[in-house]
Symmetry: C2
Subunit: 415 residues, 2 copies
Amino acid sequence: MRELRTAEIIAVGSELVTPHRIDTNSLSLTGRLNDIGIVVRAKAVVGDDPGDLSAVLRAAIARADVVITTGGLGPTEDDLTREVVAETLQLPLEEDAEILETIRRRFARRGVRMPEINRRQAMVPRGATALPNPNGTAPGLLIETGGQLVILLPGPPREMQPMFDTHIAPRLAERAKGRRVLRRVIKITGRSESQVEELAQPIYAPLRDAAIRIETTILASPGLIELHLSASSADVEAAERALDTGVAQLAAALGDVVFSTDGRALEEVVGSLLNARSWKIAVAESCTGGLVLGRLTDIAGSSAWVTGGVVAYANEVKIEQLGVPAELIAAHGAVSEPVAKAMAEGVRTRLHADVGLAITGIAGPSGGTPEKPVGTVVVAIAASATEARTFRFVGDREMIRRFSTAAALDMVRRS
Amino acid sequence: MRELRTAEIIAVGSELVTPHRIDTNSLSLTGRLNDIGIVVRAKAVVGDDPGDLSAVLRAAIARADVVITTGGLGPTEDDLTREVVAETLQLPLEEDAEILETIRRRFARRGVRMPEINRRQAMVPRGATALPNPNGTAPGLLIETGGQLVILLPGPPREMQPMFDTHIAPRLAERAKGRRVLRRVIKITGRSESQVEELAQPIYAPLRDAAIRIETTILASPGLIELHLSASSADVEAAERALDTGVAQLAAALGDVVFSTDGRALEEVVGSLLNARSWKIAVAESCTGGLVLGRLTDIAGSSAWVTGGVVAYANEVKIEQLGVPAELIAAHGAVSEPVAKAMAEGVRTRLHADVGLAITGIAGPSGGTPEKPVGTVVVAIAASATEARTFRFVGDREMIRRFSTAAALDMVRRS
């Protein structure tokens, strides 16, 4: 049997070649394939056109050991993956009585008669294995052709992912002979991409030339830099060790800007730190308008360490709800360290928290002045002591709000 | 000269075939191509492998009038788009003295000598037009071959997009003979995808068979359904009229669940409604933890109609900051219409707003009871009168929070 090393993924659907929708199935599929040691060589997206799909399919089969399609298995006339694959592989389509019955029952459970068009979903290319779909009507299909696998999966992620995990992953893992792609992610905040690159560069080279070669990639978004390390090997233990060493070396070189090497998000790290001390946090937000609280409360169980918060857009809210002295705002302006400190202390006391966090700033596009341009953001934290820090972020409104959120969460982590 | 009707887009880079990064350049390129009447047939993503890139390139040239590549124009050995395209089209590469000088000057401005590897970026396939890149070192390339266009653009969006707009769009528009793809989006909340589909279905068919054919697509995410209508025609005025009629018919059939037909988000619609009345809003959030405020304050200028809000996770915050009577929570529970109403009235009065909005619910995964299962969410709104509504959402924590946010914003719109 041919060893399975490479895959190509084809997403089918005219909505995926518009400006409005992107194929994300290929990301989760790539992760799952990598986990069992299969590398993705290329990906394609085609509209609902039989000629284009057939050509793309033939090209993929010429290159890869595994070809996976997603989408186009529905009952309507736009859905033509099943037919085009059968024709391209020159396999006749035959109705499968068992699948038909399963689809009929699915409709019956909802008290509806199966529409005649759904009958198409019971057609199976000769020799193919049908893959049950507990989350939808369209079964998947697995076709073995000359040692290669052609796999047809439904488009909706909640149907596609469980089908892959239950029926495809075990078969592929068996044939991939234990080779796996292992990954580590180092997450960093408070540094720019080029600053991280400069510190990491001297460590990359030996990692790439090691016995177990480690590949590195850097990904940047506002307030978050990720360094990805990956190693492909059949010796999983040795690969794990090589990655651990690489992560340790990079983390040491980068210092305390690294907040996570185990996949956790910044808000999760902050949550665990608070939880470990049985501390609760309350947040007063101005320019971030609820985003910091939104991220903290994204974490299930956050009610154990978040008491709540105040979004104080208007100055009177800062004064009345947070007890910021009106004179302080008049003297220093709402975006200033004294006001941020008073907000942090106010929200800590009034919302019965151990830690008070405050963010005030100018996210733009208007509201900037020569002394306090758009992007000026002050973060304050009140615990046993109160401290504040002023940042100057560059970017549009959304970027400044995201930078501010990351900076605020990171100040909690550091204190 | 060949009329340009179809395009294919190829994104080049090994990082784009990992689970961590997705090609988004193709979305903005597709929008820009559609605007000048060119339809995208297919898209591909390939790693930094010359054989794969050459094969994908040849296949695209066999199908499309315009082939655009993004990425792989950098100076390192991984960057091979320029070389592979030249070889595939059998054009010799020649060093362009002018480009070399531009790159040298770019480095000199930063006080740095040009590294020798950047010399590769001055190589141009014979007969190609180099496209200046004011935002980076890699020039783009435009190659005319047998009436078709092959266009090489850099990968970073801030370099790629201005280059397309300045140098490519005008040339393509001239050759596309005035044909354009026009779009409308109808945004709906408070209905499921299948409910919208059922109401819209009878209207679709005549739209598809009209003189100017209108294509429709439905896109669903938690709390938001979008109906996209598009028409491709050289008679822009007639296409605009046909789309306006289609939008009007669909909006009439769907009724008041339609909140926007002009592209605006729900929070923008709510903001304009409040602004028009010179009303200000304040929000008390429990299960959504700041997400409603986060969305409202996403809008530039929202400080004119948002005074602020309180995130009341702990019951004592509901009692002290919002004035919810402790007896009310004891009698009905924190997730109840009486408590939600008291929260809405409390935040309205205490934060000096005209409208008070409150959300309390159980986002899960824990905290549910048989009477109030996970997904139970109460939204209350206090203005001249106070009303509350109880929802039962289905999904995970994130989906319930997103559904709740949309439902809350929609209650403001409706009142």
